[in-house]
């Protein structure tokens, strides 16, 4: 019963927090460059505004184009609901493991890229083709990270990973350090953050994600935007859950434990958001074909981490 309740809370929590996290990152970035910046709640207001507007579709948009926002949002929302945030006692824990989680993210990318091609504009195509290229390197990189972690934990289940690393003393591992760096690189690329893509730009030739979703408007755009926000939250939660799960509530603890877990999670999330903002303001965007080296580096790091585990003390 608590599992059901925790799962419901988790589903609501990720959706509720995601725009706030994006707002936080934007706010901190603005402050760091000396602007006042919009408030924390601006993303919520933006979404509400988009929802009120009529949707404009291109003449030759197909059903795939119209349904993609719903599919992508649902997929990412579900994926985010799988990652333990404040508790590991989640109802859907056993239904999908880390590999399935990556595959879900892949599904979201698959449909977003298709939607970018649907209207038949050059901007949609440029976005889709670049996104497809990023995906070919990002997905194996994150899978190698997952392999590393699950070789250590002997399970690919997210719940097991979080509980194992939080409870047992894994110690400081070089392989985990490498895997963490690889995962951070992938997270930056997947969320269209700065060294890879610029979330704020609308200068067509420099953007990737924005180019793909250029033709969306109204409620469709709102869904796409909130899906991107949920994805950012998801990746941050994933990093927290796999590498810093300390303080997460296990299945047994009561309501007080849940409350504590929630507070710790919020603190870690805020820390992560601020760190992201600091990182983004201190680095310049790279050329598109430098990204393949960046992500390829992540893939090699993940692979090294996996090979490396074999020479560590014990598995």
């Amino acid at each position: 019963m608590t599992d059901v309740l925790a799962q419901m809370m988790q589903i609501a929590l990720v959706l509720g927090l995601a725009p706030g996290l994006t707002g936080l990152v934007r706010l901190v970035k603005a402050r760091l460059v000396g602007r006042r910046g919009p408030g924390l709640l601006q993303p919520y207001r933006d979404l509400a505004r988009l929802l009120r507007k009529d949707a404009v579709l291109a003449d030759n948009a197909s059903w795939l184009f119209r349904s993609t926002p719903y599919m992508v949002f649902t997929t990412l929302w579900f994926a985010a609901a799988l990652v333990p945030t404040f508790t590991t006692g989640l109802l859907l824990g056993p239904a999908a493991d880390l590999i399935a989680l990556v595959a879900f993210l892949g599904a979201a990318r698959f449909f977003t890229a298709l939607a970018g091609l649907d209207i038949g504009t050059s901007f949609g195509g440029i976005g889709s083709s670049r996104e497809a290229m990023f995906g070919t390197l990002a997905e194996p990189a994150v899978l190698t990270v997952i392999f590393t972690v699950s070789l250590l934990v002997h399970s690919t289940s997210l719940v097991d990973v979080a509980e194992f690393i939080a409870v047992s003393r894994v110690g400081i591992r070089v392989s985990l350090l490498m895997a963490l760096i690889a995962l951070i690189i992938v997270a930056l690329a997947e969320n269209a953050r700065i060294p890879v893509d610029n979330p704020a730009t609308h200068l067509e030739l420099t953007m990737v994600h924005e180019a793909m979703v250029l033709e969306y408007s109204g409620r469709h755009l709102a869904l796409i935007e909130v899906a991107a926000m949920v994805k950012l939250l998801l990746y941050l939660s994933l990093i927290i859950c796999v590498f810093l799960p300390f303080g997460i509530a296990t299945r047994e603890v009561g309501a007080a434990g849940f409350g504590f877990g929630l507070l710790v999670y919020l603190a870690k999330l805020i820390g992560g958001g601020v760190a992201l903002a600091v990182f983004e303001t201190s680095i310049a965007k790279m050329r598109v074909f430098r990204v393949s080296e960046f992500l390829g580096g992540a893939l090699m790091l993940g692979l090294l981490a996996m090979i490396y585990l074999y020479i560590s003390r014990a598995l």
């Binding site: 589903i11 929802l51 009529d54 949707a55 404009v56 579709l57 291109a58 030759n60 197909s62 795939l64 719903y70 649902t74 579900f78 609901a81 859907l92 056993p94 239904a95 999908a96 493991d97 590999i99 399935a100 595959a103 892949g106 698959f110 970018g116 091609l117 209207i119 038949g120 504009t121 901007f123 195509g125 889709s128 083709s129 670049r130 497809a132 290229m133 070919t136 997905e139 194996p140 899978l143 190698t144 392999f147 699950s150 002997h154 399970s155 690919t156 289940s157 719940v159 097991d160 109204g218 409620r219 709102a222 869904l223 390829g296 893939l299 692979l303 996996m306 090979i307 074999y310 598995l315």
Partner: protein
């Protein structure tokens, strides 16, 4: 049961005769209906028989049968066990649907008389290989399969590229059969008993077993399309009519996989650990190279054929893992890997034939196979588009479809790599895992491109703009296959429960990939908590999708149609769209330099000049250059040297013969 299966083959032979005699005059009408309808009916009956056999699995001894056909002193032996039955299930499910599709597709055939007789013969060959129980019968059936598919490839013989494809295919098939004959020769040994039962009873020396591995990899591997022996596959598979392409890619490669498994796990007992390393390396290399080739192709059917190479690589990886675990005494994990490999073979036969049938529908509707001439077909061919979307998603291993379920099982097997003892394998398994992940991700990119360019966007040719949906007999098989991709993805345990006993029978230990936690869950490794349930996931996502749809209540529900936004510069010409080549450009640029030695030459005139700008891409096929060209050169060298044997006097010929005789005698003396 076995007798009924063999009887069905007799019916197929009768259909061959019907097609051969009447196909030329009446190829358009009733004969076509009779041949394809007959094939579909026979396949349906066969499929039901083997399904009943698999579900029953009652008799502990597999049924055997010995028929006095063939040479007088060599009766043909047949045997039906779990592995044969499972492969026959793949064969017959797909061939039944392909035959049904053929009813509609055959109407657009240029020369039906060149397809009708050989289609049933091809089916008969593929039906006989898995039940053959001695080397002679096996090879006859194998050759029937090869030759009939070669004839089917030649059906559109007027195109020069088809003739070249058929030539390469014939050479490779002959070479493969030669390797198989050699393999069976070593398996049979000096006693020369060609029955599989006698081979099972023999113990091979490690050297002989190693030669058998090499022979299988050459013989069955060339048929399956392992790099570098894949060269014929992307030429021959697309050249055949689309429903035959579906069979060749979806089914014939699985028959080759069957031959590998039958010989390596059943006829040979001796498994060395380095076998696993070799097979794993070949599989991983095949997977990545295959998909890298696929992602840059412009012709849909060639693209699909290269993607077959990739999937064969994935299956071979599973076999390699199974060999590695088997050699280290981890029978259960070997079972898991083999189950994953067979399940992937099953899934691939479903979605690859679906995609080939879809390509056939596109070809029928537009007359084009070139992606650069397609586009916007989702509006013109709605059913085909949905089916192809399901196929593309399944082959990209997206959950909850079947491609994901088998890749998931394979990844679980990869994660048990640390249990292996040898350092070489310990390092090879994670690398192979990463390469499989890379291949999967590239496959997703490849099929975003294939589906997106062909079905989405705006039409790139007048034919694509005027295309009309294909007939029901062509749509129905695609819909069934698409449905199967969903069903077996959501409920993979149905297939796994068929696979578990047969793999247990092959390896002697029960694999862990059972539905131990109920029919909803995949829990391959009991002591680990990794689990996956497509059904629960689908229900949860479905519930959340219903919640998402509630957005329409609070949002403005109105939709306006207008011209595309395109940053304010919508261009009415479809030429301004991204093309298939431009879509592949980033991937080509990232991987191409290493894989194909791609060179891009851009010739941009200075401002003010009036000559046109030029852009050209050259890429080289390194497999041809590094593998085939040296072989061809060596053959050329040897033939050049031996050419003088043709211009000798009688005395010299006699001297050569005499020298040979003396040499042989000396050899005999030395060996004694």
């Amino acid at each position: 049961m076995l007798a009924a299966l063999l009887l069905a083959n007799a019916v197929l032979l009768a259909l061959f005769l019907l097609g051969a005699t009447a196909g030329r005059e009446h190829g358009g009408g009733h004969v076509r209906l009779a041949v394809y309808g007959g094939c579909a009916a026979v396949s349906a009956v066969n499929a039901l028989i083997v399904l009943a056999f698999l579900l029953g699995s009652g008799p502990s001894a597999p049924p055997e049968l010995s028929l006095p056909i063939g040479l007088p002193w060599l009766p043909s032996r047949f045997r039906l066990d779990g592995l044969s039955a499972f492969i026959l299930l793949i064969v017959n499910v797909v061939s039944g649907l392909a035959a049904l599709y053929g009813v509609g597709y055959g109407r657009h055939e240029e020369e039906p008389a060149r397809v009708l007789p050989f289609f049933p013969l091809f089916l008969a060959g593929m039906n006989l290989v898995p039940v053959a129980d001695d080397a002679f019968t096996f090879l006859v059936a194998w050759e029937a399969m090869s030759v009939s598919s070669w004839l089917l490839v030649l059906s559109s013989h007027r195109r020069p590229e088809t003739r070249r494809a058929a030539q390469v295919y014939l050479v490779m098939a002959a070479f493969g059969t030669m390797a198989m004959i050699l393999t069976f020769g070593i398996l049979a040994g000096a006693a020369g008993d060609y029955a599989f039962a006698a081979m099972r009873a023999r113990d091979l020396s490690p050297l002989a077993a190693g030669v058998v591995l090499g022979g299988v990899l050459l013989g069955a591997g060339s048929k399956a399309g392992i790099v570098p022996l894949h060269a014929w596959l992307p030429l021959a598979h697309p050249a055949a009519p689309s429903h035959v392409s579906a069979l060749m890619s979806g089914v014939m490669t699985k028959v080759a996989i069957y031959a590998m498994i039958r010989i390596l796990f059943d006829l040979v007992h001796h498994v060395e650990w380095w076998w696993g390393l070799v097979v794993l390396a070949l599989g991983a290399g095949t997977a990545v190279l295959g998909v890298l080739y696929a992602v840059v192709q412009r012709d849909i059917k060639t693209l699909l054929a290269y993607s077959t190479v990739e999937n064969v690589g994935v299956i071979v990886c599973g076999i390699g893992l199974a060999l590695a675990f088997e050699a280290n005494g981890h029978g259960a994990l070997a079972g898991l890997s083999l189950v994953a490999a067979l399940f992937h073979a099953f899934n691939h036969s479903l979605y690859k034939s679906l995609l080939f049938l879809g390509a056939g529908a596109v070809l029928t509707a537009t007359g084009h196979r070139d992606l650069e001439r397609l586009g916007g077909l989702i509006h013109r061919l709605p059913t085909t588009a949905v089916a192809c979307l399901i196929g593309s998603a399944a082959i990209s291993a997206l959950p909850p479809l079947n491609g994901f379920a088998s890749e998931w099982l394979l990844f679980q097997a990869v994660l048990s790599g640390p249990l292996l003892n040898q350092w070489g394998l310990k390092l090879a398994v994670p690398v192979a895992g990463a390469m499989l992940a890379l291949a999967t991700a590239l496959a997703a990119a490849c099929f975003v491109r294939a589906f997106g360019i062909a079905f989405l966007g705006r039409p790139r040719s007048p034919e694509a703009a005027a295309a009309a949906e294909v007939g029901l007999s062509m749509r129905l098989p695609m819909m069934i296959l698409g449905g199967a991709c969903i069903v077996f993805g959501v409920l993979p345990v149905f297939v796994l429960s068929l696979l578990t006993p047969l793999v247990a029978g092959l390896l002697g230990t029960s694999p862990l990939a059972s539905g131990g936690a109920g029919w909803l869950w995949l829990t391959p490794v009991a002591d680990r908590a990794s689990s996956y349930s497509g059904m629960v996931m689908l229900l949860a996502v479905g519930a959340m999708a219903l919640l998402t749809l509630q957005v329409r209540r609070i949002a403005s529900g109105r939709v306006r149609r207008s011209a595309a936004w395109d940053c304010g510069f919508p261009d009415p010409s479809p030429d301004t769209q991204y093309t298939a080549s431009s879509f592949a450009q980033p991937i080509r640029r990232v991987f191409g330099a290493a894989a194909f030695r791609t060179r891009e030459v851009v010739d941009m005139p200075e401002p003010g000049e009036i000559r046109p700008a030029h852009f050209s891409v050259t890429s080289r096929d390194l497999v041809w250059e590094w593998f085939y060209r040296p072989v061809v050169m060596a053959i050329g060298f040897v033939t050049g040297r031996t050419n003088k044997f043709q211009f000798m006097t009688i005395r010299e010929y006699l001297a050569v013969m005499f020298a040979a005789l003396v040499m042989l005698l000396i050899v005999v003396v030395v060996i004694r």
